[in-house]
């Protein structure tokens, strides 16, 4: 199914120098609210994500997964600690990051057609018109929506709308794609299709992915590494390398005894972390 997939690049580049991680979090702490009621969303988070890697962040509800993703996107600033994107501290949203939010109904613009939605990031980057049209066509074809450009998002099914959101995030070829429980609002069948889609396009576009989910099966199936975080105080409990062979397949990968072991181990971590 994911025919042309290869294993991710190592953290060390060809000339032997250690490459800068795409994402680097150093003791990130995020506290909301003032004197009345302080809420610690993230207590102390440290991890790196290497170029080309697919990292999944799992944790129970309320473990600050969304806060973590907003921090990685530059949408929220850490209260203390440091969040680096390609070695530079994140002060605002850098141009090389794409984000797919959970709720496609809220993140797609209903007044724009599918093609116009996907074109928007190119338009604001000043990409010439002919090239814009070409890239929109190309990226819509990659997510299997070659014929949907003239439709409005609300005319499509939920799964198709999330494909549009993915296409829009990939249109400007970001180095890093952040995904916040992107498949939580679609049915199981569509979810499997979208999981395989994201494995394929990340290969096609050579993009590093940080994928937040509460679904452990999904995390193990997709990831090179799973970062488990716990609820209150919001720390990294363990980082698990997933060495399941690629290309992965919904049936054979999930039938692999190693898959079950990862699953059991991570489930234990997440249950503990509640």
């Amino acid at each position: 199914m994911n025919g042309n997939e290869v294993t991710p690049q190592a953290a060390t580049s060809a000339d032997g120098l250690v490459a800068t991680p795409v994402v680097s979090l150093r003791h990130v702490r995020k506290v909301y609210g003032g004197a009345a009621g302080e809420k610690v969303a993230l207590a102390d988070i440290t991890f790196d994500v290497a170029r080309g890697e697919f990292a999944c962040v799992v944790g129970p509800s309320g473990a600050g997964k969304t806060t973590l993703l907003r921090t990685l996107a530059g949408l929220a600033q850490p209260t203390s600690g440091e969040a680096l994107f390609e070695g530079t501290p994140l002060r605002s949203v850098p141009p090389g990051i794409g984000v797919v939010f959970q709720d496609y109904g809220r993140s797609l613009y209903p007044w724009l057609t599918v093609a116009r939605n996907v074109e928007l990031p190119l338009r604001v980057r000043g990409v010439p018109k002919a090239e814009r049209a070409e890239r929109v066509t190309e990226v819509l074809a990659s997510v299997g929506l070659a014929d949907a450009g003239r439709s409005y998002p609300w005319q499509l099914s939920g799964g198709m709308q999330q494909r549009v959101a993915i296409a829009r995030s990939l249109a400007y070829r970001p180095d890093l794609l952040l995904m916040d429980e992107p498949f939580a609002s679609v049915d199981a069948q569509t979810r499997f299709e979208l999981e395989d889609l994201i494995l394929r396009v990340r290969q096609e576009f050579g993009v590093t992915v940080v994928f937040v989910t509460h679904d452990i099966d999904e995390a193990v199936y997709l990831a090179d590494r799973v970062i488990a975080i716990s609820k209150s105080p919001g720390v990294v409990t363990e980082i698990v390398d997933i060495t399941l062979p690629r290309p992965r397949d919904q049936i054979t990968t999930k039938a692999d005894p190693a898959f079950a072991r990862y699953r059991e181990h991570l489930l234990g971590l997440v249950m503990q972390g509640r």
């Binding site: 605002s92 949203v93 141009p95 939010f101 007044w111 604001v124 409005y152 995030s169």
Partner: protein, 265 residues
């Protein structure tokens, strides 16, 4: 369904909308036909006066004058309402400081300002346009402010992530997202503008439909008075039809999305 049935259904729908109008029209026509009353002249005379006075006759000038006031006043109200509403939305400090006064001006019935407006601007074109614009600005302004404040944070975050500049976020995201509510405000403003068009003219004027009405009433020309009511109603209907046509064009995505939402519920 066979085409004959579809056609019948269309006729049926048309008939549903028209029958009451037809009944009322006929009742008025026959009931007033032999009327000798000075106050309630026959409908035939009123309609003749609409044609002779307003369509082909001298009252056409009054009509043009009034529509000029309405158009200029309403366009100013719309532009100022959206502009100032957007400004207040973007400057929280200014919004908090001005909100009590905005509310005070909003609840003040605009017709009471006619004497003040006359003192300041005389009884000419400027006075009427200012009055119409002043009264009609509030629904648009407050709806713009409210609509923009209600824009979904996810839509704004998405725009930031996609690299849309702050100005671009206002034009490409906030304005279209708030458009349904802004348009609702514009529609209210239109009604207020039509009311003020008439009121400003009959209080203090030498021309316009409002002037014609008060003049007709004072000179016992009740046919002329009734005919101006009909003309006003027609203006209202046409203005509303034009508005709805523009609205359907601009907000087709909104109604489309809402229809889909309704089906899924």
């Amino acid at each position: 369904m066979p085409p004959g049935v579809a056609w019948l259904r269309l006729v049926g729908q048309g008939a549903t909308r028209v029958w009451l109008f037809a009944v009322l029209f006929l009742v008025w026509w026959f009931w007033s036909a032999g009327s000798k009353s000075l106050y309630f002249p026959p409908l035939s005379q009123i309609l003749k006066s609409v044609w002779d006075q307003w369509v082909t006759g001298p009252a056409r000038a009054e009509l043009t004058t009034s529509l000029e006031h309405l158009l200029v006043g309403y366009v100013i109200a719309a532009l100022v309402g959206i502009g100032v509403g957007a400004l207040l939305w973007s400057l929280r400090y200014l919004r908090d400081a001005t909100s009590p006064y905005l509310y005070f001006l909003y609840v003040l019935p605009a017709p009471v300002l006619v004497p003040a407006a006359m003192t300041l601007f005389g009884i000419g074109f400027t006075m009427k346009v200012v009055l119409i614009a002043f009264a009609a600005v509030w629904p648009t302004l407050l709806n713009t402010l409210d609509g923009m404040s209600g824009v979904d944070q996810v839509k704004l975050d998405t725009a930031r992530v996609l690299g849309v500049s702050p100005a671009g976020r206002v034009l490409r995201v906030v304005l279209p997202a708030a458009a349904p509510q802004i348009v609702a405000g514009l529609r209210n403003s239109l009604q207020v503008a039509i009311i003020l068009m008439v009121v400003s003219e009959w209080e203090a004027s030498s021309d316009g439909i409002g002037f014609y009405i008060s003049n007709a009433q004072q000179s016992f020309d009740y046919v002329g008075m009734w005919s101006s009511f009909i003309v006003l109603a027609i203006i209202g209907i046409i203005a509303n039809l034009l508005f709805v046509a523009a609205e359907n064009r601009a907000l087709h995505w909104h109604y489309g999305a809402r229809a889909v939402e309704g089906r899924n519920r």
